[in-house]
C-alpha cells in the first residue's frame, strides 16, 4: 500500500492561503451566490437593493432553518423526509394551544416540543429499531401529516395570539427582518455545536463510520436520537416563523419542504454518505434556492419555471461539487 502521505492541492504551491480559502466549501459557494446576485442585478435594477436582499433572507429563512437540522441528520449518514409534516404538525399544535389559552410562550413551547417529540420517534426508529432512516421518516412523513390534519379537522387556524406576529413579520430597527436574525443565531449555535461540543464531533464520527464510532465508545443510539430531535426542533422553529408570517397555521403547510431542505444541504456540498460537510454551506445553499425563486419572480417568469430551475440548480451544484472533489483528490 504505497500512497503518498498527503496530497497537497495542485494549486497550493501557487496561491497558498487563497487556495485554502477557495477550497473551503462555504466560501466558494458564497462566491457562486454573489455571482448569481450580480447576474440577476444586471438583469433587473430592482434586484440588487438592500430591501430585496433582505427579502431573500426572509424568503429563505424557513428552508434555511429546516436545512440546519437536516445538515446534522445528513452529516450523521441519515435523512429526514418527515420535516414537511413535522412543520405542519408543530404549527397546528401551537395553533391549538393558542386557542386553548396556553398564552404566547406556552403555545410556542408546545409547538417546539411537538416537533422535538416527533424527531425523537424518528430517532428511536432509526437507532433502536435499527430501521433505515429513509423508511422511518417516510412513514413519519405520513403519520405527522395525518396528525396535523386530525388536530383541527383539516382546517387552518386563524387569528393567533397578539405579539406572535413579531417572530415572522417584525423588523429590527425597522430594517432587518426578525426571521433573518433567528436564522443567523441558529446557524451560529449550530456551528458552535458542531465545532466545540462532543455532540457535534460524534455527529461527524457516526456519519463517517458508525461502527468505528461505536467501538470508540460513542453511544451511537443516544446520539442519533438526539440528532433527529434537533431536526424536529429546528423544523418547529421554522414552523413558528411561517405561522407568524401568515398569522395562521396550516395543516397542509410545509409541502415539499423536505426536498428544498435536502436540496439546500446538498448544494452546500454535504455528502449524502455522511461525515463530510459544513453548516454555513447549507445556509448559502438555502439562500441560493431563495435567490433563484426571488430573481425569477422579479424577472416575471412563471412560478412553474421556478420549480424547474430549483431542481436543475440542485443537480448542477452537486455535479460541480463532484468536480471540485475529484480535482482535490487527484
Amino acid at each position: 500500500m504505497q500512497q503518498s502521505d498527503a496530497r497537497p492541492s495542485r494549486f497550493a504551491a501557487l496561491t497558498g492561503p487563497l487556495s485554502t480559502l477557495l477550497s473551503n466549501q462555504a466560501v466558494s459557494l458564497f462566491f457562486i451566490l454573489l455571482l448569481l446576485w450580480l447576474v440577476l442585478g444586471a438583469m433587473s435594477p430592482v434586484f440588487f437593493t438592500v430591501n430585496n436582499i433582505l427579502q431573500i433572507t426572509l424568503q429563505g429563512a424557513v428552508v434555511a432553518l429546516v436545512a440546519a437540522g437536516m445538515t446534522f441528520v445528513i452529516l450523521s449518514g441519515g435523512i429526514d423526509l418527515s420535516v414537511g409534516s413535522i412543520f405542519a404538525f408543530s404549527a397546528m399544535v401551537t395553533g391549538i394551544a393558542m386557542q386553548s389559552e396556553f398564552g404566547l410562550f406556552g403555545s410556542i413551547a408546545a409547538g417546539l416540543l411537538a416537533g422535538t417529540a416527533v424527531g425523537f420517534l424518528n430517532g428511536f426508529g432509526v437507532a433502536r429499531l435499527g430501521l433505515p432512516a429513509f423508511i422511518v421518516t417516510l412513514g413519519m412523513m405520513s403519520i405527522a401529516r395525518g396528525g396535523a390534519l386530525l388536530l383541527n379537522n383539516g382546517t387552518p387556524i386563524f387569528g393567533l395570539v397578539d405579539g406572535f406576529n413579531i417572530i415572522g413579520q417584525g423588523r429590527i430597527a425597522d430594517v432587518i427582518p426578525v426571521p433573518t436574525i433567528i436564522v443567523l443565531v441558529v446557524y451560529l449555535i449550530c456551528w458552535f455545536v458542531l465545532r466545540y461540543t462532543p455532540f457535534g464531533r460524534f455527529t461527524y464520527a457516526i456519519g463517517s463510520n458508525p461502527e468505528a464510532a461505536r467501538l470508540a465508545g460513542v453511544r451511537v443510539s443516544l446520539q442519533v436520537i438526539g440528532i433527529y430531535m434537533l431536526s424536529g426542533l429546528l423544523t418547529a422553529v421554522a414552523a413558528m416563523v411561517e405561522a407568524s408570517r401568515l398569522n395562521s397555521t396550516q395543516p397542509a403547510g410545509g409541502d415539499g419542504l423536505e426536498l428544498n431542505a435536502i436540496g439546500a444541504v446538498v448544494i452546500g456540498g454535504t455528502s449524502l454518505f455522511g461525515g463530510e460537510g459544513s453548516i454555513f454551506a447549507s445556509l448559502i445553499g438555502a439562500l441560493i434556492i431563495a435567490t433563484i425563486r426571488n430573481g425569477l419572480t422579479i424577472l416575471g417568469i412563471s412560478a412553474f419555471w421556478q420549480n424547474v430551475a430549483t431542481g436543475a440548480i440542485i443537480i448542477l451544484a452537486v455535479y460541480l461539487d463532484r468536480l471540485r472533489r475529484n480535482r482535490q483528490g487527484s
Binding site: A6, P198, A213, L215
Partner: protein, 503 residues
C-alpha cells in the same frame, strides 16, 4: 497414456506487484488433465493472487499462460471462462433470490421463439446438470434455500454447463460437514475421470492424501517446490510453508511476577468459540494464533463487548467486570485495534486529530466546563502522539483516507494509547502494511507493554510476528484453545501442528 501430452495448463514466469510491492515472483505452475493439483501456503503467500490472474480477475505484470500448449492472453474474466476456466470461490457468487436453474444458466437462458425464457427446457437442462454433479435438489428452488454444500454443488454444476476444463476450488471444504466433504471428494474423483483438471487451494493438510495428485507450496509469492503425493510428508510440507529463519530480535521479557490484568474464564459463544480460558499479565504480550476462521477475532470481539459471549467471565485486575458494549470495555482501559482499519477502525473522512481523539472524547475526559471539546488539549495530545508514533502526514488536519496503510494503522494505535488503554487487543496489527511500518508497529507494541506497563493480546496469522513479539502463544482451532506454548518452546512448526490439529 504412453506419449507425454502437453500440459492442460501451464503458467510460466508470472510476476505481479501491487502498489510497488511484488507479491508474485516468477511463479511457475502447471496442471494436467484429470489431475488434482493442490496449492498450499500461509495467508498472503500468493495463492489467491495467482488464481485470480488465471481467471483474469487480475492481470499479470509479466509471464505467460498456456492452455493445451497454446499461449493465451486474457483481458477479461469472461475470456478466461470461455477458455474453460471456472472458479468455485469460498463465498459463492450467486443471485440467491433466483432459482437454481436460473443461476445455472444465467446469461445463457434457453428462449422460446418469442424470445421469452423457455422455463420447461430450462428446468430440463438444469435437472440434467444437477444430476451430473450428484445434487438431488429441485432446480426451481431459490438458491438461498440451499445449504452451503448444495450451493457449492450448484456452483460446480454451473461450471460444468460452461464446459469448464479447469476448475479452481478455493478452500472448498472450509465450511462443509463431513458428509458433504465425502460427497465433494467423490465428485472430484468423478471430474478427474472425465479429464477435468482441478486446482485445489487448501489449508487442511490432512485432506491432501485423500485428494491430491501433486502439491505445490507457495511462500512469500514464490513457488517453493512441487511434490507428488507419494513424496509428500506433512512435517516437511509445514517446514516448506513457513521456511525462513527468524531474525534475532530482543523483545525483552515482562517482570516474572507481574500481576494479572486480564483473566478470561469459560468464554463460550455458540458456533464461534467454546470454553476459552487464559490470562494476561502486566507487561506481557500474548499471541492468539490459529488459522483464519478459528474464532480468534470472535473471542476478541467478545472481550471488547462488540458481540458479548453467551457465557463466561472477564476479570480485569482481579475484579469481575461486566462488558456488554465497547464503552464498558473502554471504561476498564481495554482498547481494540481491529483487523479491518477501513471498516471498523477509522472514519476515513475525518482528519487525523479527530480520529485519534474519538475514544478519548467518548469517555468524556477533559471537557471544558464538562461540556465542550478542549481543542487546545486535542492539539497537544495529537501532536505528542503523532510525534512519538512517527505518523507521517502533511499536517494532522489531513483526512486519514489520504494516508498510507502504515500511517493509518499508527493513527488507530494512537487513538487507543491516547485513550489511556492499558490492555490492548491488537487484531492483525500489521496486515497490509509495508515492512518499515510493520517494524515500527512492533516496536510500539513492545514499548507499550514493557515501558508503559501495558499488556497486549496479539492476534496474528503471521507466525514470525507472533514468535518475535510474544511471551506466550495460544493456539486456537475450530473455536477451541488447543495449545499454549511459552516463548522458549514455541516454533512455527509446533504452532502449525496445533493449528492444523496434526499433534
Amino acid at each position: 497414456m504412453s506419449e507425454p501430452k502437453p500440459y492442460l495448463l501451464e503458467m510460466r514466469d508470472i510476476c505481479k506487484s501491487f502498489f510497488g510491492v511484488q507479491v508474485l515472483h516468477n511463479m511457475h505452475f502447471d496442471l494436467r488433465a484429470g489431475e488434482v493439483h493442490v496449492l498450499v501456503g500461509e495467508n498472503g503467500a500468493g495463492k489467491s493472487t495467482l488464481m485470480k490472474i488465471l481467471s483474469a480477475a487480475y492481470q499479470a505484470d509479466s509471464g505467460h499462460i498456456f492452455i493445451d500448449g497454446q499461449a493465451v492472453q486474457f483481458h477479461h474474466p469472461a475470456q478466461a471462462r470461455a477458455a474453460g476456466i471456472s472458479t468455485i470461490y469460498q463465498h459463492f457468487s450467486q443471485a440467491t433470490h433466483l432459482s437454481i436453474a436460473e443461476n445455472l444458466f444465467l446469461g445463457n437462458l434457453p428462449r422460446n421463439p418469442l424470445g421469452m425464457i423457455d422455463y420447461r427446457r430450462l428446468y430440463q437442462l438444469a435437472r440434467a446438470a444437477l444430476e451430473a454433479v450428484g445434487a438431488t435438489v429441485d432446480p426451481r428452488l431459490p438458491v438461498r434455500r440451499l445449504g452451503i454444500g448444495d450451493r457449492q454443488l450448484v456452483e460446480i454444476a454451473a461450471a460444468l454447463t460452461r464446459n469448464a476444463r479447469i476448475i479452481i476450488m478455493d478452500e472448498p471444504t472450509a465450511a462443509l460437514t463431513d458428509r458433504e466433504v465425502d460427497r465433494l471428494f467423490a465428485l472430484v474423483h468423478q471430474l478427474k475421470a472425465q479429464g477435468v483438471g482441478i486446482i485445489y487451494i487448501s489449508h487442511r493438510l490432512e485432506e491432501l492424501h485423500h485428494i491430491a495428485d501433486r502439491v505445490t507450496v507457495l511462500r512469500d509469492g514464490r513457488s517453493i517446490g512441487t511434490q507428488t503425493i507419494a513424496e509428500v510428508e506433512i512435517d516437511n510440507l509445514v517446514r516448506m510453508m513457513i521456511g525462513r529463519d527468524l531474525q534475532a530480535f530482543d523483545a525483552g521479557a515482562p517482570e516474572p511476577d507481574a500481576f494479572e490484568v486480564l483473566r478470561i474464564e469459560g468464554f463460550t459463544r455458540a458456533g464461534k468459540y467454546e470454553d476459552i480460558n487464559f490470562t494476561l499479565r502486566r507487561g506481557e504480550i500474548v499471541a492468539l494464533t490459529g488459522l483464519m476462521g478459528a474464532g480468534r477475532t470472535e473471542v476478541a470481539e467478545g472481550i471488547f463487548g462488540v458481540t458479548p459471549p453467551d457465557s463466561g467471565a472477564i476479570y480485569v485486575r482481579g475484579q469481575r467486570v461486566q462488558i456488554n458494549q465497547p464503552g464498558d470495555a473502554l471504561r476498564h482501559d481495554i482498547g481494540f485495534l481491529t483487523e479491518d482499519r477501513a471498516a471498523t477502525g477509522l472514519g476515513m473522512a475525518l482528519n487525523i486529530r479527530e480520529n485519534m481523539t474519538l475514544p478519548y472524547w467518548a469517555q468524556g475526559r477533559d471537557y471544558i466546563y464538562g461540556l465542550l471539546l478542549n481543542h487546545r488539549r486535542e492539539r497537544q495530545l495529537t501532536d505528542d502522539y503523532a510525534r512519538s508514533l512517527n505518523v507521517r502526514a502533511r499536517n494532522l488536519s489531513t483526512a486519514v483516507k489520504y494516508l498510507s496503510g502504515g500511517n493509518q494503522q499508527k493513527v488507530v494505535l494512537a487513538k487507543w494509547l491516547l485513550a489511556r488503554s492499558s490492555i490492548l487487543i491488537a487484531d492483525e496489527p500489521t496486515l497490509g502494511i509495508d515492512i518499515g511500518a510493520k517494524e515500527e508497529v512492533h516496536r510500539l507494541l513492545i514499548d507499550f507493554a514493557r515501558q508503559q506497563g501495558g499488556a497486549v493480546l496479539l492476534i496474528s496469522s503471521d507466525l514470525p510476528e507472533a514468535l518475535k513479539l510474544s511471551d506466550r502463544i495460544l493456539v486456537m482451532a475450530h473455536g477451541r484453545l488447543v495449545g499454549e506454548l511459552s516463548r522458549a518452546e514455541a516454533t512455527e512448526k509446533r504452532i502449525m501442528a496445533f493449528a492444523f490439529q496434526v499433534e
